[in-house]
Amino acid sequence: MKNWKSTLLIGLKLLLVAAVVAGIVSFVNAKTASVATENINREKNKAIAEIFDNQPIEATEQDGIYTVSLNGKIIGYCLESTSSGFGGDMELMVGYDADAKLRGVRVISHSETPGLGARVCDNEEDALSRYAGKSGVLTWNKDIDGISGATISSKAVLAGVNQATEKLLAFLGGERA
């Protein structure tokens, strides 16, 4: 008879410990949640600002598409895109001019190998700058090629950019229709 009582007591003690810990965690979360989301947004805004040469732009977001306007006139769009890199997911911010021509690409987060794939993310050898001025869905080796030692990362960037381009074209097509 004593057995189930002592087991219950053990279980209850464990429950209590877990409850206290959960309380501590939720407390910390409540205090820091807003600051955390602000941080992520700050990174994204920084990317958008860089793509548009730090002009005093305004960006309004809808369904993951940022419409960028300067002095009330739309001058372009920015889209987030995620693709599979060598070491994990790669998050990109892809910027376009008002006519859906590529303006710039920034890597917001990645897990590529430093010295190899990461060189693409740091825009070495103009790995990212080379996208500027192109339009439409791009083909590997024809429109864009990679940098030495970072083929997979370069291809991942291309995939992400194409993804964003398709999404933008669908969005614009829908708007115009």
Binding site: F86, L116, S148, T151, I152
Partner: protein, 349 residues
Amino acid sequence: MEDLKLQEQPASQEAPAPVAEMPPLLTVSPSPHARQGITTSHLMRDVIIALLPATIWGIYIYGLRAALVILFSVLSCVVSELLFQILLKRTVTISDCSAILTGLLLGLNLPPNVPFYVPIVGGMFAIIVVKQLFGGIGKNIMNPALAARVFLMLCWTNQMTGFPKEYTRLWWSADAVTSATPLASLKVGALAENFNLLDLFLGRTGGCIGEISVLMLLIGGAYLLVRRVISWQIPVAYLGVVALLTFLFPAGGADRLPYMVASLCSGGLILGAFFMATDYVTSPVTNGGRLLFGLGCGLLTFFIRRFGGYPEGVSFSILIMNTLVWYLDMAFKPHVYGIQRKKKGEKKA
């Protein structure tokens, strides 16, 4: 009873017999025992001679700088071994020529336009880390020259993958126009446009100093086979598997036969199959083991070249198989006469 005179011991007493990883054998037959007189340095010298055609061709194609790269590599290996053994108060064994051979092999595996610190650091890594720290000759797990090459590839990828165009005879400086290698083109399926097979075979294309001329390497390989320094199992199994797989599955829908020949003739495949996979210390002892070893190397090379991130698979394949040699040998342990293998059921009883 004169015929029972004891065999005179040869003058050189160190490192008796070939550099074998086999345990000391108990000779059961009565004397006299005829010694072959082959020492480690004899074998090393044979391999060095076998490598000479490829070396000379590489220097001919790439000029003085290629010779300097090889020279620095050899010097680095020999000096590293000497200093290591002196400083740690061990017997100095540079006279067995194994360091020289490692240096030569490493040098042949480098592009001619590498900065000089590449062969120097590579030599130090090969001898000190891969060979000596594991116990010296006979005790290393991996091929030192190959492991050093991989180390250098990871350290200085750009320097190690920029090959000058063929016939660029470099002197002291390393400025040269680089071009894609046959392997890189193979991977993309653009081989036919860039290279022709005869050039690949004779050695009129770019690449590492020692790997460009298949013809020269085959001459060396034949020399080694004739001199019985290496046995046929490893190169035949290795090249056979690669040939078979590339014939059956050409990339990008290329024609089978050219693709197969191109695959065989590019990268360090012939160099690896004859000179690096067959290294005594790091390859199996048994014939069956050797066949499996070659098979494994071939499979891995094919897969890495086709599906891996690097265009070159030979170095990694051989190194991976090096680590499996113990198991391969165990699988083919010779049956001791007189002992019956236990049947499965008996174990329980």
